[in-house]
């Protein structure tokens, strides 16, 4: 089974405004506005240039936060990726 890869949806063109630990993000392409926490925004930033495997996203995030990648952290980040999927910000084409 191939590893899950994430990327931003085609056309996604965000304007981002950050306040403390939260941000609002306006997608010029869809016209939608979303509220994102700091980790979700970081995931969006990590995907901005290119797609990334789920494992690499999670390990990079763990490095930045200086935490161990355990099951809890893994599902914590997966939950945010799934939320980005539902918001039509990110997609995982190979699933």
């Amino acid at each position: 089974m191939s590893e899950r890869v994430w990327q931003l949806v085609d056309g996604f063109d965000p304007l981002i405004h950050v306040w403390d630990s939260e941000s609002v993000i306006y997608d010029r392409f869809s016209g939608n506005t979303h509220l994102l926490d700091v980790l979700s925004l970081r995931l969006v930033e990590m995907l901005a240039n290119d797609g990334m495997s789920e494992n690499r996203l999670i390990s990079t995030m763990a490095d930045e936060l200086v935490v161990e990648v355990d099951d809890e952290f893994f599902s914590y980040i997966q939950m945010r990726l799934d939320a980005l999927l539902k918001l039509n910000i990110a997609q995982s084409p190979n699933v």
Partner: protein, 304 residues
């Protein structure tokens, strides 16, 4: 010359014929109506508003009249006309004046896209304005009326106009619309204020209007910076309490409560987020108007 320079009879005669053009906030409306209760309502509640000479630019041409047909004799109604169109079903004739208020809001919310238009009251003091975004039943208009009766300047009890040009709030002082028990509460609380008649059995229950204070009408050209966003919630027996709300969450709430945020797109996002940068945001629970006013009077501007 203000509208109350005309007698009620003269006003009604003009309304019935060429119409009366007057200015409220940044907007000019030409109102035509042969209905007597409209003339009385306008004379009582809009008397201090400036008349505009025929030939000047008019934002909205509004007509309130009885629809034609047999039904007019069985069940008298009033119909709203806008630029010759009739976008809404008629209402009972006795609701003609409230219909003017509702449809005027509709005109602004659906056509004035040089502003981000948010559903909420706005009051101002010392150049600093508070936006009160809230759903029906939250006590927004009651709180707005109480604040206005205790020295805050009325910008609007229904539509917050945020200029796309500079992000400032633009006053739109019009009668404060009160519902049900709030009408008597405010008549007791603001004994010096002028109130129009109560209209029973409207789609919103009983409706009454409190006249905008003269100072608010006279200063309608003075814009102000949004300083606080306060989402009020009336609940019996609670202590007045301000609870901070994150800027991002309040920004989303304002966007959801805006009539034209989606239409404005990027410009709406930019003006809203820039405005939020300079605002403090709160949820506000209250049960007593005096406590609520004391809380508002103690609000401090954002530390920058």
């Amino acid at each position: 010359m203000n509208l109350d320079a005309l007698s009620v009879e003269k006003l009604q005669q003009k309304l019935s014929t060429e119409g009366v053009i007057f200015r409220t906030g940044p907007f000019t409306v030409c109102l035509q109506s042969p209905i007597e209760s409209v003339a009385r309502g306008i004379h009582l509640l809009y008397g201090q508003y400036p008349l505009v000479e025929a030939g000047e630019f008019v934002d909205f041409y509004v007509r309130l009249a009885r629809p034609r047909g047999l039904r007019r004799w069985l069940k008298p109604q009033v119909e709203f006309g806008f630029d010759g169109n009739h976008p809404f079903k008629p209402l009972p004739l006795v609701q003609a004046f409230p219909m003017f208020e509702w449809t005027f809001n509709w005109c602004i919310a659906n056509h004035m896209h040089r502003y981000l238009v948010v559903h909420g009251a706005v009051v101002e003091r010392n150049g600093m304005a508070a936006i009160l975004p809230a759903p029906p039943g939250s006590g927004k208009s009651t709180l707005c009326a109480a604040l206005v009766s205790r020295g805050w300047r009325l910008f609007s009890d229904e539509l917050a106009l945020i200029s796309l040009h500079d992000g400032q709030l633009v006053p739109l002082p019009r009668p404060v619309s009160l519902k049900n028990e709030s009408i008597d509460i405010m008549k007791d609380y603001a004994a010096d204020a002028v109130f129009g008649p109560s209209y029973l059995d409207t789609k919103k229950g009983t409706i009454g209007h409190m006249k905008s204070p003269l100072e608010s009408v006279e200063r309608a050209g003075e814009h102000a910076k949004a300083t606080w966003i306060v989402m009020p919630k009336y609940a019996s027996g609670v202590e007045a309490c301000l609870t901070p709300v994150s800027k991002a969450k309040m920004c989303m709430l304002l966007a959801e409560n805006s009539f034209n945020y989606s239409l404005l797109g990027e410009a709406g996002f930019k003006i809203l987020t820039e405005m939020m940068d300079g605002c403090e945001s709160y949820r506000f629970d209250y049960s007593h108007l005096d406590d609520a006013i004391a809380t508002f009077d103690a609000l401090e501007p954002t530390a920058e």
